[in-house]
Structure formats: structure tokens, C-alpha cells
């Protein structure tokens, strides 16, 4: 089975599609601030996994943009395996979130909701889900705590939510064949 990204599907999830940087990026507004996501690059790894790199900007107009680079690994079935993000805030600060192993926050939602609906998960998975959610919490809390110590208009705070949405949209654009 091979894995790839459907860039048409990904672009359609942004209001104006791939409308920026000669069609290589999507610029959009979220919560009264401007952001940009570039078409992702990806590579199929020799172990059958698939790595996608997502570059994103918080557009700050007269100031240096903030940047986030999310590296996400999918398994050979296209399921999300792990994700990590490097954040650069203007000229001020660099923050790196750790890699969430096995189950990340987004996938933890899936497993949690499935457990609630189907009740079909084994007990062995429950502590792993709890641990993953706890890890995700720590990562987000560390990140958000760092972000909101910086002086800004809320657009930097919202950048974290934007990056989370971008990851969901990327997952929705993964195609296996």
C-alpha cells in the first residue's frame, strides 16, 4: 500500500484555496488574524512509513512573521503515528514541542470517542490513551504558556489552534492506494 497527499483536497479546506505565493500556499483568515500554509512536502520512508512536512506562517504585516513547521509521520495504512512542531516567533523566541509517540492529541480524540461510542477498546489501550492525552496536554500547555507570555494581539495565541486545525486537514487529505 502506498501513501500520498491529495493537494486538491487539502487546498479545498481553505477558503480561497492555493491563492498565495504563485499557487504554492494558501493564505487565509482565522479569528481576525492572517495565516499562511504552504503545500506540504513528503517522503515515503524505507520502513513503509510516510513523513509529511507542513510549513505555516502567522502573517504579522509590518513585523516578522511567526513560523511553525510540523513534521508528521503516518504508517503504511495512512494512520497518524506521531507529530512534532518547531515554532519560531518573529525574532524573539524559538520553541520546540516534543514528538508525541504512538498516539498524538488528535488521534487520542479518535480513540477516546471510539471508546465512548463502541466500548470496544481493550483495557490495555486505556492507560496509553490517558498517557498520550496527558503528554499532549503538557505539550500544548508548555507551548501556549510560552506563546501568551509574549506581547501580541491574540493572533499568536490563535496560531496554536490554527496549527491543530491544519493537522486535521492534512489527515483528511491522506490517500492510500
Amino acid at each position: 500500500m502506498s501513501v500520498t497527499i491529495d493537494l486538491t483536497t487539502l487546498g479545498q479546506q481553505y477558503e480561497h484555496g492555493w491563492n498565495d505565493v504563485n499557487g504554492t500556499a494558501a493564505k487565509f483568515t482565522s479569528e481576525d488574524s492572517d495565516y499562511r500554509i504552504y503545500k506540504p512536502s513528503w517522503v515515503c520512508n524505507s520502513d513503509g512509513t510516510f513523513t509529511a512536512v507542513l510549513k505555516q506562517d502567522h502573517v504579522r504585516g509590518g513585523a516578522v512573521d511567526d513560523h511553525a513547521e510540523t513534521v508528521t509521520v503516518f504508517d503504511s495504512t495512512g494512520a497518524l503515528q506521531s507529530t512534532s512542531t518547531n515554532w519560531n516567533y518573529g525574532n524573539n523566541k524559538q520553541i520546540q514541542t516534543g514528538t508525541v509517540l504512538t498516539v498524538d492529541l488528535v488521534a487520542a480524540f479518535v480513540i477516546t470517542s471510539t471508546a465512548l461510542v463502541d466500548g470496544g477498546l481493550s483495557l490495555a489501550l486505556v492507560p496509553e490513551v490517558v498517557g498520550a492525552i496527558s503528554t499532549g496536554c503538557k505539550i500544548y500547555n508548555k507551548l501556549a504558556g510560552e506563546v501568551i507570555e509574549l506581547d501580541d494581539d491574540g493572533g499568536r495565541l490563535n496560531f496554536v489552534a490554527v496549527v491543530n486545525h491544519n493537522l486535521n486537514k492534512l489527515c483528511a487529505s491522506i490517500v492510500t492506494s
Partner: protein, 150 residues
């Protein structure tokens, strides 16, 4: 599965009539607030819906607005499964984020988590800050009421 912005407006008793129809502004306990149109994305593997929103505490002549980012996760049955908020208090050094809230009554527990971290000594020029948890609860209830499963 999707978020119905008209249901949200109805739940809030308001309209999307500010900021080029991207926001609503309202009064609560003699202070002013603004809610921006929510962002949404589907969770992988039909896992549900992720909804985020910015809420402003409008401070007018007292300075820059305070900002609250709320982030909610809903399962495929439309029930809230996680909630979190980040609060940015201008000038005041008491910016913070809540843990990710799970379990039952997530909307109330997110509001409680915000309240637990608010400073108690805001003066009259910032009294709207004490009301932020109530405003957030109102918003989260309205978001939950606007999740549509199909």
C-alpha cells in the same frame, strides 16, 4: 458532522453583524465582549469535530482587549470529549492556559479552570475580567448546541 453558525447565533441571542459579519458583540454584567466566528476541522477517521474560537474582553479606553482562545473536541455523537482555553490578559502578566478538560460537564469545567487562575484584585476598570468565565461558559454551551450530526 458540522458546526452550525446560525444555531450558535440563536443560542447566544445575537447576530453575526460585526466586523464584516465575522463577529458578534454583546454586553454581560456591564462589560463588553466579542465572539469571532468559529474555526472547525473534522478529526481523523470520523473521530468527530474540533472547534476553536477567539473571545475578546473589550476594554475600550482602558487599553487593549484581553483575548481568550477556546478549543473544543466533539465525538461523532456530538458530545464534548475535550475542552481547553488559553487566556491572555493584557499588561497584567497573568496570562495562562488551562489543562485539557475531559469527562462530563466540560463546558462548566473549562470555565471553572479559567476562574481558578484569574487574579482576584482587578479594579473597576478591569471588572469585566472577573466575568470572563461566565462568558466562556455561555459561548461553550452555545458551541455545543450548534454541533450537528448527520
Amino acid at each position: 458532522m458540522h458546526f452550525d453558525k446560525d444555531k450558535f447565533a440563536s443560542s447566544m441571542g445575537d447576530k453575526w453583524d460585526k466586523k464584516d459579519k465575522m463577529a458578534m458583540e454583546y454586553e454581560s454584567k456591564n462589560s463588553n465582549y466579542r465572539t469571532w466566528l468559529q474555526d472547525t476541522s473534522l478529526l481523523p477517521k470520523q473521530g468527530g469535530l474540533y472547534v476553536s474560537s477567539k473571545i475578546d474582553h473589550i476594554r475600550g479606553g482602558f487599553g487593549e482587549d484581553d483575548h481568550i482562545i477556546v478549543m473544543m473536541g466533539y465525538g461523532p455523537d456530538g458530545m464534548a470529549i475535550t475542552g481547553q482555553a488559553a487566556v491572555q490578559i493584557q499588561e497584567d502578566k497573568s496570562s495562562y492556559t488551562t489543562d485539557i478538560i475531559q469527562g462530563t460537564n466540560i463546558e462548566q469545567n473549562v470555565a471553572n479552570a479559567i476562574k481558578a487562575r484569574l487574579k482576584s484584585e482587578y479594579d473597576d476598570s478591569n471588572s469585566g475580567r472577573q466575568n470572563i468565565p461566565n462568558v466562556v461558559k455561555r459561548n461553550l454551551d452555545a458551541i455545543t448546541a450548534s454541533i450537528v450530526i448527520q
